[in-house]
């Protein structure tokens, strides 16, 4: 499973094949093989040693073709059919071809722009692919080297509107034209055993050629000259730059040293095989377009699917184990709580048993006993004596008043009248029950003695008594049932008449309702 992380990125040219071994993102080693019988055999042996490694092939050859196509924006099977038809039209005989999505137009139709790529006559590739197939290598994809150029410029952060990358690789001089950082065209010129001065002239001549080609294709115009980017890895880059600038080209050097350090690539290796930088890019970025037909990558996809299933199984197992562990831990924690509670319950039961065994003998339950005793106490608290005390206190300030009759009754009717029979009050009391809050009502018949005919004074005396009674907080309400002056009678006579004989005393009647809250005190 972990061997799956091993990746072999193969760089193929017309003459040779170079393997680079990667473990994760780390570069390990490289090997080169000539395109001949011995080279094929050695490559076969190499593959047999790395059966589980994923293989990716980068082709750097002159047999290549590029075409930008703007197609309607469709999806799903319609898109697949449209691209297949376009690719067939573009390169009918080629096995290695693809449509690489570039961008979506910002126009109203939102059409999709694709670069169609194909390897036109890849005879040099057949031997190597045969070895790969015979060894059942896990071929993940086949890519053209210029496909990596746009990732390279993004990495070194040089993205002018129109850029020509001019770089010497193992296959020869590679010139790749990018528009807005996207691949538009590329061309390889094989270079064999040229002197430095010849090499510089070759560079300049090739740049001029491609300049003319791009103009002819109306990809550039006179007013807008592209920028030529040279690699710092090329030994001749200064001389080339000088010569190109003399010709009027706008040049810049891409410093690749920092990038190499970042990826732990040796300077000597990259100087010898500049394409290593591109291979490293392929190891890091994923390119969705793939030149290889689906049959060739079938084993890899199957292996990929298998590994995904193993991964899913592992993830499910991990999640399941975590959930199970969590549930078990919660269960165990609850078990501890259960044990703790059981111990406490046993302790309480022991205390209860001990308490019960030492409980004093009782004829009835304690709660009932309490009710009986408190009821009996409550019965004894109810008496007219307290009412007599209240009236007695109030009479101290009114010695003229004499009580002729006093009635005290318990009732649940606040509006009860003095004339109501005792039987009625008994009935009411009984119906309301012992435990109802009964009102204590007092009826007082009083008279003012030594009446001298001054009714105003008599009224004042009666009112004083009422006021004194009200001062007692045990009194809830007082109603004067009859005043000393009886206003209900008809009074008739003449001022010329002699005054009638004055009565010796005048009578008044009060009804006093005592506060229920003060019942205990009454």
């Amino acid at each position: 499973m972990f061997a799956y992380r091993q990746k072999i990125i193969v760089y193929v040219t017309n003459q040779m094949l170079m393997t680079s071994l990667w473990y994760g993102k780390q570069y390990q080693s490289h090997q080169t093989y000539q395109n001949e019988e011995a080279g094929h055999a050695a490559f076969r042996q190499y593959l047999s040693r790395h059966k589980k490694a994923t293989i990716e092939v980068v082709v750097d050859a002159v047999e290549e073709e590029y075409q930008l196509e703007v197609l309607p924006h469709v999806a799903g099977s319609a898109r697949r059919e449209m691209l297949t038809r376009k690719l067939t039209q573009f390169s009918r005989n080629s096995v290695y071809k693809t449509a690489w999505f570039m961008y979506q137009e910002t126009t109203a139709r939102k059409e999709d722009a694709y670069v169609l790529l194909s390897l036109t006559t890849p005879h040099f590739l057949q031997h190597w692919m045969a070895v790969l197939q015979s060894e059942q290598a896990l071929l993940a994809g086949v890519y053209a080297l210029p496909m990596l150029s746009q990732f390279m410029v993004r990495e070194i952060k040089i993205v002018p509107p129109q850029l020509l990358i001019c770089e010497r690789l193992s296959a020869g001089l590679r010139q790749t034209y990018l528009q807005d950082g996207r691949l538009r065209f590329s061309r390889l010129t094989p270079i064999d055993n040229l002197q430095t001065s010849q090499l510089v002239n070759c560079y300049v001549a090739e740049v001029e050629k491609i300049h003319l080609y791009l103009r002819s294709q109306r990809l550039i115009n006179d007013a807008f000259t592209f920028q030529v980017m040279l690699s710092s890895i090329d030994a001749e880059h200064h001389a080339v730059m000088e010569k190109l600038e003399q010709q009027g080209f706008n040049c810049r050097i891409a410093n690749r040293q920092d990038t190499l350090k970042k990826h732990d690539l040796k300077q000597s290796d990259v100087t010898l095989y500049p394409q290593l930088h591109y291979l490293q890019l392929l190891n890091e970025v994923g390119i969705k377009a793939n030149l290889a037909p689906t049959e060739m990558t079938k084993d890899y996809r199957l292996k990929h699917l298998t590994n995904k299933m193993y991964m899913i199984a592992a993830v499910i197992a991990m999640i399941g184990l975590c959930i199970s562990a969590s549930l078990f831990v919660q269960g165990v924690n609850k078990n501890e709580q259960i044990n703790h509670l059981t111990n406490l319950t046993n302790l309480l039961q022991k205390q209860h048993t001990l308490l019960i065994s030492h409980l004093p003998a009782s004829p009835i339950a304690g709660a009932d006993m309490k009710t009986v005793v408190t009821t009996a106490q409550m019965l004894n608290e109810q008496s007219p004596i307290a009412m007599m005390q209240v009236i007695s206190m109030a009479l101290k300030d009114t010695p003229e008043v004499k009580i002729s009759r006093l009635r005290w009754v318990q009732s649940n009717e606040e509006n009860m009248l003095d004339g109501e029979s005792r039987a009625l009050s008994e009935q009411a009391n009984q119906a309301s029950g012992l435990d109802s809050a009964l009102l204590q009502i007092g009826f007082v018949d009083a008279k003012v003695n030594q009446f001298d005919g001054d009714y105003q004074q008599t009224l004042a005396i009666a009112n004083r008594l009422v006021t004194n009674l009200r001062l007692d907080n045990r009194v809830k309400k007082i109603e004067v049932m009859q005043m000393p002056v009886d206003a209900t009678l008809v009074s008739q006579g003449s001022t010329s008449d002699q005054l009638a004989i004055k009565p010796a005393s005048v009578v008044f009647k009060l009804k006093i309702i005592f506060s229920a809250a003060e019942k205990e005190g009454l």
Binding site: L305, A313, A325, F328, I338, T345, L355, R405, V409
Partner: protein, 204 residues
């Protein structure tokens, strides 16, 4: 066509079976763990209820002990005075005579009615309340005689409810402290209450 398909099946069979086995095993494991946790949860709830019940029982017993210790002497006194059990109307009449003699009261007329069931909300297991209404009428030299009788009746015998009392001047009476005469007439209705075993049927 068939051969690649068979190859595909052969290649994928192991991971598919492995995945299925893992999924089934994990489902079983999670299910078992879930059941274990649910059982423990139920057991915990039961243990909590048992603990709560035991604590409540202990508290009730402690309350019972407290009530018995506090109220048993009072209860025994009520048993002796006849508040609980058979009514002791002879004791009441005796007490009435005793109070009259003690405070030198005028003649006390009394009438005790038939014992009846008392409709009370007071709920006591196995007990039912009964009342016997007593009507009293007696002459007073002064108001203290009224107080002496009611207070005296409360001492040593069963509790009662005073329902209705009236004190009025005796007809044609003129207050003269030098003469022993009935200056006031008092009358009262009181309910003598008794608690009796509910199982004992009383015919009224």
């Amino acid at each position: 066509m068939i051969k690649p398909l068979m190859n595909l099946c052969r290649t994928l069979s192991l991971p598919v079976i492995g995945l299925l086995v893992i999924v089934i095993a994990i489902c079983l494991l999670v299910g078992f763990a879930s059941i274990y946790k649910s059982n423990q949860y139920l057991l915990l709830k039961r243990a909590e209820i048992a603990y709560s019940n035991a604590r409540e029982r202990l508290q009730l017993s402690m309350q019972e002990q407290h009530d018995i210790e506090q109220y048993l002497p009072h209860y025994q006194r009520l048993l002796q005075t006849g508040f609980i059990g058979e009514e002791q109307r002879h004791a009441w009449i005796a007490r009435l005579h005793q109070v009259g003699m003690q405070h030198q009261l005028f003649n006390i007329d009394y009438k005790i009615g038939q014992q009846t069931a008392y409709d009370s909300k007071l709920m006591l297991d196995g007990y039912k309340m009964h009342r016997s209404a007593m009507t009293l009428r007696w002459g007073l030299l002064h108001e203290d005689d009224f107080i002496h009788l009611l207070s005296g009746l409360r001492e040593g015998i069963s509790p009662f409810i005073v329902r209705d009392c009236e004190i009025a001047q005796a007809p044609d009476a003129e207050i003269n402290s030098q003469r022993l005469q009935e200056n006031l007439i008092a009358s009262c209705v009181i309910d003598w209450l008794t608690l009796r075993d509910a199982s004992v049927k009383v015919d009224f």
